[in-house]
Amino acid sequence: MKILYGMQKPDEGTIAINGEQVSFSNPGDAIERGIGMVHQHFMLADNFTVLENVVLGGEKLYGIGSGARKKIKEISDAYGLGIRPDALVEDLGVADRQRVEILKVLYRGARILILDEPTAVLVPQEVDALFANLRELKAEGLTVIFISHKLGEVLSVADDITVIRRGTTVGTADPASTTTKQLAELMVGSELPSPETRESTVTDVPMLRVRDLALTVTDPDGTVRDVLAGIDLTIHQGEVLGIAGVEGNGQTELIEALIGMRIPDGGVITLDQDDISQVPTRKRREAGIGYIPEDRHRHGVLLDAPLWENRILGHVTEKPNSRGWLLDNKAARADTERIVREYDVRTPGIEVTAASLSGGNQQKLIVGREMSHAPKLLIAAHPTRGVDVGAQAQIWDQIREARREGLAVLLISADLDELIGLSDTLRVMYRGRLVADADPATITPEELGSAMTGAATGHLESPEDEAR
């Protein structure tokens, strides 16, 4: 993907566009050839309008004034994107921002679109809308490369499927005659993993209790905004509590308040009978909170440090990493090798830097590290994001196993199948509040999706009940 977009040079092999062999030395070349990329993480300036964002860097194409506006309107109408050129990007939702990204690419004359995990941040209804847009593009003769690890989506939108595993093409499939199961087997080379948990292991011993947690932030313009309000939740030993919600509705802040990186404005956090509301982060982690952060590069690893130093990170005061005030580098190294073996981290050794591993392997290292300290509570934010299907199944297994031994898990994920499959209890977060709860045994992703957009509150019933 990076190679197609000119961000990296291939060692060998060729790329042909419309039968013509090409080579790119930078993204500019790729754009010139009509290749456009929509990144998983949006690259938009929040305080600019849509028009300004689209024009930025492409000022020479249609100017920056009415010409550009006309062109944007034209593209937007042609493909049914519904873009308002004068809206501020910061006021737009995730789905709208994604459409802006697509428009940005089309504006630059792209005929081939690469979309990298475009649905990761969308609720099911938005996914359907995106797919409708993609079909429009297709109908206009554009080529779309859709990269996703969600098999159902690939099957429903694609005309042709190529499966890549560990850097090589392992097969192609025709979506009309392939099932998700067959596709998954191609992807992992084995059975389809499923996040479903069979038997319940929930006990009635509360492990984490949060009462009336509130957090406000002051915006640059001086207005005070509730980020978290009236959060009440209890997680018992052996229970997985899943929180569904469109990203940016307070999940990040909730996690950071629980781990001690943000000081809440009110509320009580109790871990295993102890009030930890005022306790600093390190003490909380020592008390048994494991943490799989949502942004592993920012919060989970030191990219330039070797794996064994990353194994120490977050647990520097605990065995086997240190004895008293001194580090025990030898023991930490030995234990890193154990984690690499047990958690299937693909690496030639423990002296390589974290940056040289793939995202999935970094994640496995983090999971292994957090599980190695027998946590009482695991905060898992998007534990399988950016992780290949094989590793995903393994991480699910590990969470399930720890849950059986009495671990309490707070699971936050944008992958609704993962949430529904792993959780014992589901809550929905919307604008900093827990607005709805649901039984994962009966709820459907679509239903959950509507609650995530604030359309439904209270206890969510299963569709059968509703139909009656």
Binding site: T281, R282, K283, L303, G314, V316, S322, L327, N329, A355
Partner: protein, 372 residues
């Protein structure tokens, strides 16, 4: 695994070597452009460095530089740029000299008192910047630069005869008064002509050892490095970032305070207007060149001290000794550029190698694979 370590070693040397070669080449260009013999100055410098007395000067100078560079390096490892080492060092040396001259104590105690005062003053001065950063978010770069100027003014004021200074008879110089002999740090005599190596130079070497040990083998050192590598990750791992900033500024300042000690305790025994200045800035160059590594800093300190001391003889042969200054400047520029180049190359290379090794099936055997 061995292979990676060897790679890292080679890459570790590649940076400084590349920088020095480029700096040397550029200096030669400068010499050519100004119509000088481009090789003669180097010969003169090397010849001068072959005398024992010059060598002693170099080693003594290197000791001072080493401490200043360690002070800078402590900050660098934390992603803090303590430009104020110079001010911390001068203020500390002066206060220590004042205290040292005004008391009489038995030998070791006297020395210990002077050293402790110097460390406390240095830490205090750097601590101001640390305090401002943690409470008000003031960039330590700005505040330490300004504190340098304030230190200059403060020292000039304190040393006035009407305050704490003295004016030796028949001289325009101002001093803090001479420290009694009990407060002199014994040196290592190198022969009649050569003078002696300051005893404090060995303390400096000890500081380097301590720096290495604390950074690599203590929890505190790990927290410090983690914060320097990624503040957000360190915070998530439980490091109190503010406390860490303040602590490392205090340590940096305390070490900066030590930088004046070799000269004060081993040579001048007083702080006067002609006490060496600019040590802190040279320390930045050396810390950069030595990549914050205690051994690297030692070599860099020796190199810069060599340039300083051996260039003195250039004047006698009709060359300007500023040639060495030009060279130092060029070293700084090429160091920054070449380290970044080598770093990027290193990352790319390692990613490539890891990919290759994995593709070739050289991964550590995991249990999952063993089970298959």
């Amino acid at each position: 695994m061995k292979k990676f370590d060897k790679d890292r070693l080679i890459l570790g040397f590649a940076g400084p070597v590349l920088a020095l070669v480029v700096a040397l080449a550029l200096t030669t260009v400068v010499l050519l452009a100004s119509g000088r013999n481009p090789f003669e100055p180097y010969r003169i410098m090397f010849e001068s460095a072959s005398y024992v007395d010059v060598q002693v000067l170099i080693v003594n100078q290197a000791g001072t530089y080493y401490l200043a560079a360690l002070a800078v390096a402590v900050g660098f490892r934390m992603n803090l740029f303590n430009i104020g080492v110079d001010g911390q060092y001068r203020l500390a040396a002066m206060m220590a000299a004042l205290v040292g001259a005004s008391v009489s104590l038995p030998g070791p105690l006297h020395i210990a008192l002077i050293v402790i005062v110097a460390m406390l003053v240095g830490a205090f001065w750097a601590g101001i910047a640390g305090f401002l950063k943690t409470t008000r978010g003031v960039s330590e770069v700005v505040s330490t630069i300004m504190l340098n100027s304030i230190a200059t003014a403060l020292v000039a004021w304190l040393i006035l005869p009407k305050n704490f200074g003295e004016q030796p008879a028949g001289s325009n110089n101002l001093t803090t008064g001479e420290i009694a002999e009990s407060g002199w740090f014994p040196g290592l005599p190198m022969g009649d002509q050569a003078g002696e190596i300051y005893g404090f130079t060995f303390v400096a070497a000890g500081c380097g050892l301590l720096y290495w040990f604390v950074l690599n083998h203590t929890r505190f050192g790990f927290d410090l490095r983690a914060t320097g590598a990624s503040e957000s990750a360190a915070q998530a791992s439980g490091v109190d970032a503010k406390k860490m900033i303040l602590t490392s500024m205090l340590i940096s300042g305390a070490v900066a305070g030590l930088a004046g000690m070799p000269t004060l305790l081993g040579d001048t025994h007083t702080y006067s207007l002609d006490f060496p200045t600019g040590i802190g800035f040279t320390g930045i160059t050396i810390a950069l060149l030595g990549r914050n590594n205690p051994l690297g800093i030692a070599f860099s300190a020796l190199l810069i001290a060599f340039l300083d001391k051996s260039s003195a003889s250039l004047d006698q042969y009709g060359y300007e000794k500023e040639i060495a200054t030009i060279m130092q400047g060029l070293i700084v520029i090429s160091v920054v550029v070449s380290y970044e180049l080598v770093r990027r190359y290193g990352i790319r290379r390692q990613q490539q190698k890891v990919g290759e090794e994995l593709a070739a099936g050289h991964a550590i055997k995991t249990e999952k694979e063993a089970a298959l």
